[in-house]
């Protein structure tokens, strides 16, 4: 009969129904994502004198952003802080994920719940609690003074890049634990047995089998942590001080206190592009390294 033709038509109808179902979501995203990002681009190409925004398109803002040494410092510092956060978070989380994946037998689910519960507190208050811990009159200092271990409060704990790294390594821990756990859990246990049978010791076995096979989870977690933390505003604002300020603080200042939106838009786009390039380079390098250690 006309089976083939009818099937083709049905597939076509099906596809139309599929696109129809997608339309509302795509319309909302076109309005709330594509249009605003285009506007951001347009704004970044404008000039501003006083509070008047010029009509012509110009590269002025980009020249200003790229030419200003303070922004370059801020850019590299943000990358360095986020890079350190990523590294510290991964190093702390890996043994934890390894423990749950390989050494917990029955209560895996309970461990995973226990590891995620702290992340259901307000993000603001989680960051703020570190200010309370590290501050001049904070928990650590008041405890040390009370115990008589120091005479005056330690001032180096708060308002520096170290405080930002510590706070973010705490705030983003779940984003490292879960992907690494998933990739470790997927590893075929018979591969490990085979390695042992063939004479590999535990360390050699870990380096040759477990680590390379868990690398996709590690790389995924790295991107998941690195990209958003480069744009974090709350943590540097609360615990960073002047030496720990990051890109988002400068962008926010252009939009609020300074009131130069075109400049803020250019700074945001340059930052995002820079972060995207560095991230892409990192992912390629990490994949190559994984192949090399195998």
């Amino acid at each position: 009969m006309t089976g083939r033709k009818a099937t083709g038509r049905k597939a076509q109808d099906d596809r139309t129904a599929g696109y129809a179902l997608l339309t509302p979501t795509l319309v909302v995203l076109a309005l709330a994502l594509a249009a605003p990002m285009l506007l951001l681009l347009v704004y970044s190409l404008k000039s501003q004198t006083g509070i008047t925004i010029g009509g012509d398109l110009t590269w002025t803002q980009y020249q200003a952003v790229l030419g200003r040494a303070s922004y370059r410092t801020l850019f590299w510092r943000s990358l360095a802080i986020s890079g350190a956060v990523t590294l510290v978070t991964l190093l702390l989380a890996y043994p934890m994920a390894y423990f749950v994946a390989f050494h917990v037998k029955r209560a895996k689910f309970l461990w995973l719940i226990a590891l995620t519960i702290p992340f259901w507190t307000s993000y603001l208050l989680r960051v703020f609690s570190w200010k309370v811990i590290l501050g001049f009159n904070g928990v650590i200092n008041s405890a040390l003074m009370r115990l008589g271990l120091v005479d005056a409060p330690l001032e180096f704990l708060l308002y520096n890049p170290f405080a930002v790294v510590l706070t973010l390594a705490h705030a983003w821990a779940a984003f490292a634990i879960l992907p690494i756990y998933v990739s470790l859990e997927k590893i075929d246990r018979s591969l490990l047995e085979a390695a042992t049978d063939l004479g590999d010791g535990p360390w050699r076995r870990f380096r040759r089998i477990t680590l390379p096979l868990s690398m996709p989870g590690v790389i995924g977690a790295a991107v998941l942590i690195f990209v958003p933390t480069t744009g974090d505003y709350v943590t540097p604002e609360l615990v960073g001080g002047p030496k720990g300020a990051m890109l988002a603080n400068a962008i926010e200042a252009q939009f609020n206190s300074v009131g130069n939106w075109p400049m803020g838009a250019a700074l945001a786009l340059v930052s995002m592009t820079g972060v995207a390039l560095v991230t892409a380079a990192f992912v390629l390098a990490a994949r190559a390294a994984t192949r090399a250690i195998r």
Partner: protein, 265 residues
């Protein structure tokens, strides 16, 4: 030996995760304006202060409104889109999914300022509606992640059986697809609700005069004398969130178990 070392490390790490959060409830009952040891005595006056704080309650009401609207809209849009990409063979599926997931890779501050520019370009005032729009950007991909996993795990034969037995498309959806999807829908609602309820930066740029709870808390952090009340508020949020998450996990598990029963029957 190695096992004990790892267990010790795991417990140490767990303490690192929990201690900062547990300071909030601890100092919220401490009878001193200063957040420092030693503790001065037990009080519930910070909680009493919260009950009398009209601005906080207004902010809480705003946040509940925003989070409810965001959860419902994101889950509805996530549901239709997840259905479309799992049920039909679409061209450019990868590109579409990438576009939907894009906001997860854009820093919140950029989403906030870009939406601020949109509202300015359309000459619209700052409002909670703008905050909902911003939160939906982040919540739609989250909702889709939950729902796609659910759609992919389910048996299409059940829908075909329903059609063979004479139900039309709409009734099949209501009587077969929807009940099977319900656990996924509930966890999507919960995840998007909590995400929106906790979101600060987008709301900071877009809420204007009507602060959400995180924006209100941000304002309070500047005033040392207001801190114990903020901690009390944090302790309440923590308790309610943990309760909700526990409920969600129970629901999720009961959903899985019900599926297993159905398959077994």
């Amino acid at each position: 030996m190695k096992r004990h070392g790892l267990l010790a490390y795991a417990l140490f790490y767990l303490a690192f995760l929990y201690v900062p959060g547990l300071l909030l409830p601890l100092f919220s009952f401490n009878d001193s304006q200063f957040i420092a040891f030693p503790l001065s005595g037990f009080t519930t006056r910070w909680y009493a202060g919260l009950a009398a704080d009209g601005a906080m309650q207004q902010a809480l009401a705003n946040s509940l409104k925003v989070a409810t609207a965001t959860a419902l809209l994101s889950t509805l849009l996530g549901l239709t889109a997840a259905r479309a990409v799992t049920r039909y063979r679409l061209r450019a599926k990868g590109a579409i999914l990438g576009f939907i997931a894009l906001p997860l890779f854009i820093p919140d501050i950029v989403l906030g300022i870009a939406l601020l520019l949109l509202l300015a370009a359309l000459a619209l005032p700052l409002s909670l509606a703008g905050v909902v729009l911003g939160h939906m950007l982040v919540c739609i991909p989250l909702s889709m992640t939950v729902l796609i996993a659910r759609f992919e795990g389910f048996d299409r034969n059940l829908e075909e059986a329903s059609a063979d037995l004479g139900e039309n498309g709409w009734m099949t959806f209501w009587r077969v697809t929807f009940p099977l999807m319900l656990p996924g829908i509930l966890s999507s609602l919960l995840l998007t609700f909590i995400t929106s309820f906790d979101e600060f930066l987008v709301a900071y740029f877009l809420s204007g005069g009507s602060a959400t709870l995180p924006v209100y808390i941000w304002g309070q952090l500047r005033f040392p004398e207001r801190l114990p009340m903020v901690l009390a508020l944090g302790a309440i949020i923590l308790t309610v969130s943990v309760g909700l998450v526990a409920l969600a996990e129970v629901l999720r598990n009961s959903g899985v178990k019900a599926d297993k029963r159905r398959v077994g029957a």
